[in-house]
């Protein structure tokens, strides 16, 4: 009798790419909860709308490419991209902003480059940067965090949030209360000492941006969970945070008006922790080896600091990540591990020399 023929190995570790992505989604929850508590339901509306769009577009592309959509949707990578872009967008962003962003993320950055695994750039960050360059006004309208201003109206609930993003759904226009982000205020400041700035502006909290501290701590918690679950290794995120902190330390200037901000301020403000644990760790667009990921993360950390301090855009995570995505193949080339039984560390392509 002929028996079943299967090649080795006959065992594999439980879990698949889909389960990796589901862990990532799970780990995003604390951050999302804190954001909702601070900014109201705008974040949730963003997320749901972005996920619907992403799934729809992914299914459409798979149909066009004549692949079974369900099999590919199951890897949940489209959902991760959608959620990451959605939390990076300002709450109460207009509906069309999300459409454009997800369109660029899923259709251009992911599928025009060949789909899952082939994209050299992080899709969510491509979508974000396209929006930031094209629609700077809409992209910088951040809702004021609850409690930052005395007598502030309560944050928007689910229905008002929906009406804010989809104005045509409601007869009376709804607007969220917005204000400049702490990073903006910090950059525009050139007269006050850091201590005075913290005391005088409602944007600042104990050591980071008001409320942003909590957002960052929540994303940090999610990241710690992923590290614990060994979804990724510590190399890229920790090296990014260390590099950012080190840069801040060097340029802190003991809190003068020319200060770039303390390490704590940079670590717990803006998209730092979201970037470190959910963007920098995206395996597809990062360097591959552990050593490579150390360089990759450090590069992002340094760039974030430089762009935040000297660039024209308020936050820098997206630009820094995209720039290092460019560099990833180069890093891979120079950080090949030494194969067992070989003497040389360096890339083997170079041994051969030019022809």
């Amino acid at each position: 009798m002929a028996l079943l023929h299967v090649t080795s190995p006959h065992m594999s570790r439980a879990g698949d790419t889909g389960s990796v992505m589901r862990h990532v989604l799970l780990a995003l929850i604390p951050g999302i909860v804190v954001m909702t508590a601070l900014f109201g339901w705008g974040t949730i509306v963003n997320i749901i709308w972005a996920c619907l769009l992403a799934l729809g577009m992914e299914a459409m592309v798979m149909r066009l490419r004549k692949r079974p959509p369900m099999f590919y949707l199951r890897d949940c990578s489209a959902l991760v991209t959608a959620v990451l872009l959605a939390v990076a967008l300002p709450p109460y962003a207009p509906w069309w902003l999300v459409v454009v962003g997800i369109g660029f993320s899923i259709l251009v950055a992911k599928h025009l480059y060949g789909g899952m695994g082939y994209n050299p750039f992080n899709p969510a960050m491509v979508g974000y940067v396209v929006l930031l360059i094209s629609f700077p006004v809409e992209m910088t309208q951040w809702a004021a965090p609850a409690g930052s201003i005395p007598d502030q109206a309560p944050t928007l609930g689910p229905l008002s949030a929906l009406a804010a993003s989809f104005p045509f759904l409601s007869s009376t226009p709804v607007d969220a209360f917005t204000m400049a982000t702490p990073l903006d205020v910090f950059k525009q400041n050139d007269s006050l000492m850091v201590d005075e700035l913290f005391a005088s502006s409602p944007q600042f909290g104990r050591f980071g941006g008001y409320g942003w501290e909590w957002v960052n701590i929540a994303f940090l918690l999610g990241g710690a969970y992923l590290l614990y679950k060994r979804i990724f290794t510590w190399h890229a995120p920790i090296s990014m945070l260390a590099a950012l902190a080190l840069m801040a330390l060097i340029f802190n200037d003991s809190g003068s008006s020319a200060s770039g901000g303390s390490p704590a301020f940079h670590l717990f403000t803006g998209a730092t922790m979201l970037g470190a644990f959910f963007i920098v760790t995206d395996p597809v667009s990062s360097a591959v080896s552990n050593i490579g990921r150390l360089y990759y993360g450090a590069g992002i950390g340094v760039l974030i600091y430089l762009i935040r301090s000297f660039g024209n855009y308020p936050d820098a995570v997206a630009f820094a990540v995209l720039l290092m995505n460019f560099a990833a193949p180069l890093i891979d080339h120079y950080t090949q591990p030494r194969t067992y039984g070989h003497k040389d560390h360096k890339s083997h392509n170079e041994d051969r020399g030019p022809k």
Binding site: S8, S12, D16, G341
Partner: protein, 536 residues
């Protein structure tokens, strides 16, 4: 690097994985004895190297232990009758091979008497010549029992310029499910150590290290209890697959890496599997050639699990039926372990010297592989690779058929352990790609040899013609000078000079072909050494 290390010190290797061990189900019972089957089928090729040459005729009666096929060359092992009976055929039969191929076998119908022929123990092996002792081991038909089956005697003849300083006995048995070595140690540690004594006498190493994973403390204790005053070190190290790979074990125990394309002997090391030591003891002390082995029978599709001592040539069907196996076309039967073993196409194939395990899993136990998803470059494969390769790069290059890049990324150093496939979250059958690429590379190397050969043949012919032409010219000149008219007749006979040039050229070609062949073997890497298959 050469500083003396602490006794019993071990080193960690890169990568590795911790699959569920599944070893307990086949342990705990004494080693069983499989019945003598009605028919034995003995493939002439059971190890690396040339197939043996039959020295019996169909119709001939043979006794247990009698030589039935002779070694054909240096890297080749002879074959003996596992039981008494009549040779009924020498013909192609299906053998245990991943491709389901057939190969020449000697078929013996047993007579049920199981009558021994002459046994030739060596009373005092320290008193005989070294070469005689090695020949005795060679004539006993012993090949590495761990997996790949490298002829044991070859390893006992290290080149004179590379003295052996360390003898490593591999008792790691790191693959899940397999417990053949473990059971052997528990029951016959004393015999195993006697085999190690023989190796020690032959190689005179400065130190003898017996390495095993820390998941079998009872085996380590059994070995230590039997040591008495022998200076051997029994070294336990953390369980991790594939620490039983020869190269990996050497690094764990010595901190050194076998150079790529080289042999352990380059480091002054010889590595032998524990089952091989046992076979050596049987050959030297008891005078019995290798005609049986311990095989693990495991997997939930069997009713009784355990280790059994089985005659070589028994078919898997016969053996497993006795353990309640009822196969369906959906059944998987794996020779070896779940990581490196291969599925046989039919159970009607014989047990051979390297069959350390038969795994008959149910579909729930080892579910069929999932559909592969896209590589997400997560790097888990590179984390797991014990050879420090970049499996995902090898995968891209394999798919793109970029052979130069594959070679540049050292695909030849892949030991096909399957750790990368095991961890891949996208369920990509990575090793399958590497096997295909390696086969392709081998083929290309062979083609290259052929092309080289015909090019040389062409050049050789070209040169001969030119030489003949020159000769003619010279003759013409000579003829003119001599003004002899009869010279025309001489020209027809072949001049001497031409011949010797041809011989020299021929020798050159042969040397080139030999060189190319040597290279070719290099691509097939694991072929080099016995215990490279991690099964042991």
């Amino acid at each position: 690097m050469n500083a003396p290390h602490k006794k019993g010190q071990t080193w960690d290797i890169h990568g590795g994985i911790h699959p569920p061990e599944n070893k307990t189900q086949s342990l705990g019972k004494p080693i069983m004895q499989a019945a003598v089957p009605a028919q034995l089928i003995l493939p002439l090729s059971q190890s690396i190297g040339a197939p043996a040459e039959p020295c019996v005729e169909p119709g001939e009666h043979v006794l247990k232990g009698q030589l039935i096929a002779q070694a054909a060359g240096f890297v080749s092992v002879p074959l003996h009758a596992p039981s008494s009976g009549r040779v009924t055929a020498i013909e192609d039969r299906p053998i245990a091979h991943s491709s389901g191929m057939s190969a020449p076998c000697i078929v013996i119908d047993t007579d049920g008497e199981d009558r021994w022929g002459e046994r030739t123990p060596i009373a005092d092996y320290t008193a005989v010549e070294r070469t005689e002792l090695i020949n005795h081991i060679r004539n006993a038909g012993i090949a590495g029992m761990g997996g790949a089956g490298f002829p044991t005697a070859v390893k006992l003849n290290p080149p004179a310029d590379k003295p052996i300083t360390t003898l490593i006995i591999n008792a790691t048995e790191c693959e899940p499910y397999i417990t053949a070595d473990h059971a052997l140690i528990l029951e016959r540690a004393g015999d195993i150590l006697q085999g190690v004594d023989v190796l020690t006498h032959l190689l005179q190493p400065a130190r003898i290290l017996i390495g095993l994973e820390d998941n079998k403390p009872d085996a380590a204790a059994a070995l230590r209890d039997s040591l008495r005053d022998r200076p051997y070190q029994v070294i336990e190290f953390p369980t991790k697959y594939p620490s039983g790979g020869e190269k990996q074990l050497i690094e764990i125990l010595t901190g050194k890496q076998v150079p790529s394309g080289g042999l352990p002997a380059d480091l002054g090391i010889v590595c032998q599997n524990i089952g091989t030591c046992y076979a050596i003891k049987r050959a030297v002390v008891d005078g019995e050639p290798l005609i049986s082995r311990i095989t693990t029978l495991t997997g939930n599709a069997l009713k009784t699990l355990g280790n059994t001592e089985v005659l070589l040539g028994t078919t898997m069907q016969t053996l497993l039926e006795a353990h309640g196996w009822q196969p369906t076309p959906q059944s998987r039967l794996i020779m070896g372990g779940p990581m490196m073993g291969f599925t046989v196409h039919s159970a009607n194939v014989p047990i051979v010297k390297t069959t350390n395990c038969l795994l008959a899993p149910t579909a729930e136990e080892l579910p069929p592989p999932h559909l592969a998803q896209a590589c997400i470059r997560c790097g888990m494969c590179a984390e797991a690779c014990p050879a420090s390769l970049l499996p995902q790069q090898l995968y891209w290059y394999s798919r793109a058929r970029e052979y130069e890049q594959l070679e540049a990324h050292n695909i030849a150093d892949c030991i096909e352990c399957g750790a990368c496939s095991y961890v891949c979250p996208s369920n990509i059958p990575l090793v399958q790609y590497y096997r295909a690429s390696k086969a392709e590379l081998r083929e290309r190397a062979e083609e290259h040899i052929k092309a080289e050969h015909s090019r040389q043949r062409f050049e050789f012919r070209q040169e001969r013609l030119e030489a003949a032409e020159r000769e003619k010219e010279a003759k013409k000149a000579a003829r003119k000078a001599a003004a002899a008219k009869r010279a025309a007749q001489k020209e027809a006979s072949t001049p001497d000079g031409d011949n010797s040039a041809a011989t020299a050229k021929q020798a050159e070609i042969e040397a080139a072909v030999a060189r190319a062949k040597a290279k070719k073997v290099g691509i097939g890497q694991p072929a080099h050494s016995d215990d490279n298959e991690v099964g042991n």
